[in-house]
Amino acid sequence: MSTETAAILDKVSYLYPRSEKPALSDISLEIRKGEFLGLIGPTGAGKTTLCLVFNGIVPQFQGGRFFGRAIVAGLDTLEHPISKLARHVGVVFQDPETQLIATSVENEIAFALENLSVPRDEIRKRIPQVLAAVRLDGTEHKHPHELSGGQKQRLALAAALAVQPDLLILDEPTSQLDPVGAAEVFTTVRELNKELGITIVMASHAAEEMAEHADRIALMYEGRILALDTPDAIYSRIHLLYEHDLRPPQVSETFHLIDTVMDKHYGHINSPPVRLSEGIPLLDTLSKRCEIVPPNHTIFPLHPGREPALSVKGLTYTYPDGTQALRDVSFDICKGEYVLIIGQNGAGKSTLVKHFLKLLKPTEGTVLVEGISTEAFSTSDLAQRIGYIAQNPDTQIFSTTVQEEVSFALHNLGYSAEEIEARTAESLKEMGLLEVQGAHPLSLSKSDRARVVIAAVLAMKPEIIIFDEPTTGQDFRGARSILEISRTLHRLGKTVLVITHHLYLMPEYAERVIVMGKGTILLDAPIREAFHEVDLLRSTFLMPPQAVMLARQLDHKNEQNWKLLTPQEIAHCFNDPACREKDAV
């Protein structure tokens, strides 16, 4: 191992105990000192397992069968105990809650150092240093519970940094965070890498950020590394990404599509850009060179005149501790609409939704469901009208088989045995769960568990369905499959509300967007309008999708106001049939 190498894996294969299928297969990888290596791959590709190889948890703690060699900071991970490897490898995990152990910020940072018997004076010296590095200065005596999600993950980073590791491993550190939190963590990690030269290995689904920050990217699938290259090389292989259920950054996708439809006499886009900063000048060049076809989309009007399904009038809610979570909020959602609600954590989205279900009662104002005040209903009455699917499927599963789970509500609501059987079967069929109806829900994958919860809610045949952050913690395929369900329900005439931070997923689905901030409605508009209110979105720390930023540039250059939303729509503008005909002649 040269002095320029932080870690080296040599033909590593690994099987978890009682497993026949390798979680890692024949992985050889050299991590250079000071580099930022990104790991991408769908859920189950082996990213987490690979992360745990570096500090010896795999296989020392997990057991199972391990082949090959892993050398980290010159130490063979099979020959040195985890507690010794911990001096050289810091790890930050996905869930902010289960990795913060201590009851104050300073104790959290001190914890690993105390375990490593670092003298007290040295610990005292390092605490302010690492807190400054993650910009949490002055929080020494706070309880982790008092920190926001992004702050918790930065604290986990600070604690990992405090041991002055040779290698910092981050396993999907932003997947549970809102956009502000995720941006905080990415910025901090980049600073640590660029300014302090810390070697980083990060697994993440955030394609745009990975393209921006990583030096190299390893694409994993079924335990193997299929490709290892620069972000530019990886993210320009669009087909490779699609084949493995991965999402390219929208910039790459846009230029890939433009290249496919654009007339060949304009030339080829040899290496599509993967970062917005490179995409914008290229778009300018192309739009000067090519004929731009106006789009054929229309802005769908919202549904004036239709009966409201949900109405909120002058709603104010103050928590018992005095926090005002909603301030004089009023709007109607009409029957059959598909509405997207966005905003930071703490903007009041969940508080608002809880009022529809009478899980909270208004401090002031009224909430009407199908024209009737919620005061007239109990929560269980409302549950039959409004299906609410919360973020974490695991707190919504109480039964030992999928079939029982789906019929749970029907028993509570006192339906006849025949009706229960019929509705359960129908719901199971709709969600494609018939084959697993006898299985324990927790034996299924996370995206299938989410389907079980959706089936259980749909069995009540609600007319309004609310998805609360359905895409958080799901990979691209899982997120898409849930959103496809929402689309099917919408086409069946149901009213659909979705809360999500993943704006780029939504143009294909939502019609209307409600932007919330600090307990008020900042904007309520059709999605095409709303996503182009870039300054307003930014003011509440929401990042518009890259395609929107490219579309703005296109509008600006062509002095138009098309307000395109997706890579497909942008690419369409470069598909000039007249031009092609001319060529044919």
Partner: protein, 286 residues
């Protein structure tokens, strides 16, 4: 989030003499006061002791809301104590008072089913009261010591008392994760209500059965969490060994020695007075 904040570990915010004391001094206070409460039988002496402990809690900043909550929670238990001791604990009360006949306050007519002829005695009633004060002392002396101490100091103190670090760690992580479990329990119950479970229309037994059902997903998720926690701990070089350094220093100050001295003096005096002069025995001042 909101729900968990209300149930957050209740350290006091006020800086008082009790807060500044070392945890070991406070442990001694717990031991001495509990021991005396255990020995005494006098309702008057125990009432005095209970009052003293509650006053100390208030002075050291334990929230009055918490004290009210504890007392309220214990009310059914108190009723049971007064009734069982008042009506049926005849033999023990007779031997304590040395009386052959107890003073009846109220007697059920003999025609009543099951309780007919049972009589509430003054002595039994007073004994019931003494047990209530005794439990109140036990219940309130713990928050006096625990809520007034930072977890770090508790851990270091326990380690100094040669309790293995592994055990003190379990204790502190329980404090850390309790609000999380509570939050999750809330989410599960909420999810059940959203599947048509009309908790508000249920009797207490049905309700208890449904809460019990919520425990299954709670335990399953706690198991997943504990696996993740274990991995996080190992990654932070945790081995459970007591051979480690501690960020926080603790030392005994003059006030600690003073309090410990007073505790021992109080214990000695209480024992001498009890055995020689009957102070704190059942019949004292009655």
């Amino acid at each position: 989030m909101k729900g968990a904040n209300t149930l957050k570990y209740q350290t006091v915010e006020r800086n008082s003499i009790v807060v500044r004391l070392d945890f070991r001094s406070k442990l001694l206070i717990i031991v001495v006061i509990s021991f005396i409460a255990f020995v005494w039988e006098s309702p008057i002496a125990l009432a005095g002791l209970a009052l003293l402990v509650v006053a100390a809690c208030r002075l050291s900043g334990v929230r009055p809301g918490y004290i009210r909550f504890v007392v309220k929670m214990m009310i059914p238990f108190y009723l049971v104590l007064v009734i069982t001791h008042g009506f049926w604990n005849i033999e023990q009360v007779k031997s304590l008072t040395g009386k052959a006949v107890l003073t009846p306050l109220f007697t059920f007519p003999s025609s009543f089913w099951l309780v007919g002829g049972a009589s509430l005695s003054l002595e039994g009633f007073l004994y019931g009261l003494s047990v209530i004060f005794k439990t109140l002392v036990f219940v309130m002396v713990f928050p006096l010591a625990i809520f007034t101490t930072e977890v770090d100091n508790m851990i270091v103190s326990l380690v100094r008392l040669h309790i293995p670090y592994k055990f003190t760690f379990i204790f502190s992580s329980a404090l850390r994760f309790f609000p999380l479990l509570f939050e999750e329990m809330q989410a599960i119950i909420e999810a059940q209500r959203l599947r048509g479970l009309a908790v508000e229309k249920m009797g207490p037994f049905q309700r208890a059965r449904h809460y019990a059902r919520a425990v299954v997903p709670l335990i399953l998720s706690a198991m997943t969490r504990s696996q993740q926690l274990e991995i996080a701990l190992q990654s932070k070089a945790f081995t459970g060994s007591s051979k480690r350094t501690y960020l926080h220093e603790i030392s005994l100050h003059r006030s600690d020695y003073l309090v410990m001295g007073l505790c021992i003096l109080f214990l000695g005096m209480a024992l001498v007075l009890y055995f020689s002069f009957g102070v704190g025995k059942y019949g004292w001042l009655l």
